[in-house]
C-alpha cells in the first residue's frame, strides 16, 4: 500500500533519515519506536508529504506521491493523520471540526457529513460534545475527536504521530482503546509511539529506528522477547 524507496531527509546539514526503504502492506499495523531524534516522526511525516523528502521515492496505492505533478491533496484525503498536540481547530465546534474537510473536498454533502460525525462521535462516546468547542474538552477527549476527524474522510490508512505523548497518564487508556478498536476493524495503521504495551498488543510489526536508520524490525513478540541488535537491546532495557 505504501512503498518507500531510498528515502532521505535532511534539515540543512542535519541528516535525519538516511536512505530508508520500507513497504507497508494493507491491513498492517506498523509500530515505530526509537529514541528522540531518531527520525521516526520525520519518517511518518514524509509519508503524507508534510515533510518533503530530500531524496527517494514514496508511492501510495501505485501513485508516486513524491512526483511534483501528483495532486497531493487528493492523496492526503486518503491518509488520515493524528498529531501529538491534537491540532483541533479552536475556532470551530467539534461538529464543524469533523465535517469541514469532507464537505469542502466534495466527499460528502453537509447532511451526510453531519450524520457521519454523529455516528463516529457515538463510537468514541462523545456525541454530547458535538456543539462544544475544543477548549472545553480534556486532552483525551480532544485526541479522540482528532481521530474521529481523520476517520470522517474515510481514509485507507491512518498515521499516528505520538498520539498519547501529550496526555495525562490517566487519559492514555481511552485513546489507546479507540486505536485498538480501529486496528481490530482492519484499518492499516502506522503508529509512532512510546507505548510499548500498545506496540506489543496491537502491532503486527515493530520497527526500531535510531540515527535515521531502521535498525531492527520484527513481529512484536519476537521483537520484545529476543531483540537482536545491541542498540535495540539497550533501548528496550531502558524503557521496559
Amino acid at each position: 500500500m505504501i512503498d518507500v524507496k531510498n528515502l532521505s531527509k535532511s534539515f540543512g546539514d542535519n541528516l535525519v533519515l538516511d536512505n530508508i526503504s520500507e513497504h507497508i502492506a494493507p491491513g498492517e499495523k506498523v509500530v515505530i519506536i526509537g529514541p528522540s531524534g531518531s527520525g521516526k516522526s520525520t519518517f511518518l511525516r514524509c509519508l503524507n508529504l508534510l515533510e518533503t523528502p530530500t531524496a527517494g521515492e514514496i508511492s501510495f496505492d501505485g501513485t508516486l506521491i513524491t512526483d511534483p505533478k501528483t495532486d497531493i491533496n487528493a492523496i492526503r484525503q486518503q491518509m488520515g493523520m493524528v498529531f501529538q498536540h491534537f491540532n483541533l481547530f479552536p475556532n470551530m465546534t467539534i461538529r464543524k471540526n469533523i465535517t469541514l474537510a469532507p464537505v469542502r473536498t466534495g466527499l460528502m454533502k453537509q447532511e451526510e457529513a453531519d450524520e457521519t460525525a454523529i455516528r463516529l462521535l457515538k463510537r468514541v462516546g462523545l456525541e454530547e460534545k458535538a456543539d462544544a468547542y475544543p477548549a472545553q474538552l480534556s486532552g483525551g477527549q480532544k485526541q479522540r475527536i482528532a481521530i474521529v476527524r481523520a476517520l470522517a474522510m474515510k481514509p485507507k490508512v491512518m498515521l499516528f504521530d505520538e498520539p498519547t505523548s501529550a496526555l495525562d497518564p490517566e487519559m492514555v487508556g481511552e485513546v489507546l482503546d479507540v486505536m485498538k478498536q480501529l486496528a481490530e476493524e482492519g484499518m492499516t495503521m502506522v503508529v509512532v509511539t512510546h507505548e510499548m504495551g500498545f506496540a506489543r498488543e496491537v502491532g503486527s510489526r515493530v520497527l526500531f529506528m535510531d540515527g535515521g536508520h531502521i535498525v531492527e524490525q520484527n513481529e512484536p513478540k519476537a521483537f520484545f522477547d529476543h531483540p537482536q541488535n545491541p542498540r535495540t537491546q539497550l533501548f528496550l532495557s531502558k524503557v521496559l
Partner: protein, 255 residues
C-alpha cells in the same frame, strides 16, 4: 430663538466693553449657531466618515493581499518555489518599505501636488493616499497574525486534504483575525484621525470646515475645539465597538 436675541444684543456692544462670559457666548454663537454653521460641521463629519471608510476598504484589501502573498511566499516547500510569487513578494516588500519609511504627510502632498495635480477631487485623492498608506501597516499586522497561528493548525488542515486556500480561509485567517483585532483596531483609529491631514491637499473633511468657519469669523478656538470633541467621540465609539467584537470572538475560548 433665544440665542438670536442675545447674539444681536452682544454684537451691538463694542468689543472692548464685553465681559469674559459675554465674549465667550458671542464666540460660541459665531462658531456654531450663526447662519446654521453647525450644519457645516456635520457635513464635514459626513466627509470624514466617507473618507475613512474608503481608505479603510483600500487599506484592508491591499493589506490582506500583501500579507497573503508574503506569507505564502515564505511558506513554500523547498524545491517548489514559484517564480511569479517571488516577483510579487519583491513588489510587496518594496511597497511596505517605501510607505512605512516615509511620513504620511509627505506621501499625501506627493499624491495631491505631484501625481494627481490636475485632479479636482482632492478628497478622493486623499482617500487613495490614506488607503495606500494604511495598507502597508495593515499588511504587517495581518502577516504577524498569520504567523502567530500554530503551524500545527495548517498541518492538520492540509493533512485532511484541504488545499492551501481553504486552510487559510477556514482555519488560519479566522484565528489570526482574533489575534490581530486589538492592533487592527488601533490602526483604524489612527486612520480616522489621519483623515484630518487630507485638508493639507485641499480635501474637504472636518478640519476643512473648521478652518473655513475660523477664517470667516477670525475666531479659531471654538471650531477647533468642536472638531476635537467630534474626533474624540468617534474614537470612543470605535473603541467600544472593538471591545464588543473582541468579546464576541472570544466565544470559542470559554471553558
Amino acid at each position: 430663538m433665544a440665542w438670536q436675541a442675545l447674539y444681536e444684543q452682544l454684537s451691538a456692544l463694542p468689543v472692548a466693553d464685553l465681559t469674559g462670559t459675554q465674549s465667550f457666548l458671542l464666540k460660541f454663537c459665531k462658531a456654531f449657531l450663526v447662519g446654521d454653521r453647525w450644519k457645516l460641521y456635520l457635513q464635514g463629519l459626513g466627509y470624514t466618515l466617507e473618507l475613512t471608510v474608503i481608505a479603510l476598504v483600500i487599506g484592508i484589501v491591499l493589506g490582506v493581499v500583501v500579507a497573503v502573498i508574503r506569507t505564502s511566499h515564505d511558506q513554500q516547500r523547498p524545491g517548489h518555489r514559484n517564480p511569479a510569487l517571488g516577483v510579487l513578494n519583491f513588489v510587496c516588500k518594496v511597497y511596505t518599505t517605501v510607505i512605512r519609511g516615509t511620513p504620511m504627510m509627505v506621501q499625501l502632498l506627493i499624491w495631491g501636488f505631484v501625481i494627481f495635480k490636475t485632479c479636482r477631487n482632492h478628497t478622493m485623492v486623499g482617500a487613495l493616499g490614506l488607503g495606500i498608506n494604511s495598507g502597508a501597516y495593515v499588511a504587517e499586522i495581518v502577516r504577524g497574525g498569520l504567523m502567530s497561528v500554530d503551524i500545527g493548525q495548517t498541518e492538520a488542515g492540509r493533512s485532511l486534504g484541504l488545499n492551501y486556500l481553504d486552510t487559510m480561509r477556514f482555519i488560519v485567517i479566522p484565528q489570526a483575525f482574533k489575534n490581530i483585532l486589538p492592533s487592527l483596531g488601533n490602526e483604524f483609529i489612527t486612520l480616522l484621525k489621519d483623515t484630518s491631514l487630507v485638508s493639507a491637499i485641499g480635501g474637504t473633511e472636518m478640519v476643512y470646515f473648521a478652518q473655513a468657519v475660523g477664517g470667516k469669523t477670525y475666531e479659531y478656538m471654538f471650531p477647533l475645539l468642536g472638531i476635537a470633541v467630534m474626533y474624540l467621540i468617534l474614537v470612543m465609539i470605535l473603541s467600544w465597538l472593538q471591545g464588543k467584537m473582541e468579546r464576541r470572538l472570544r466565544q470559542s475560548d470559554r471553558r
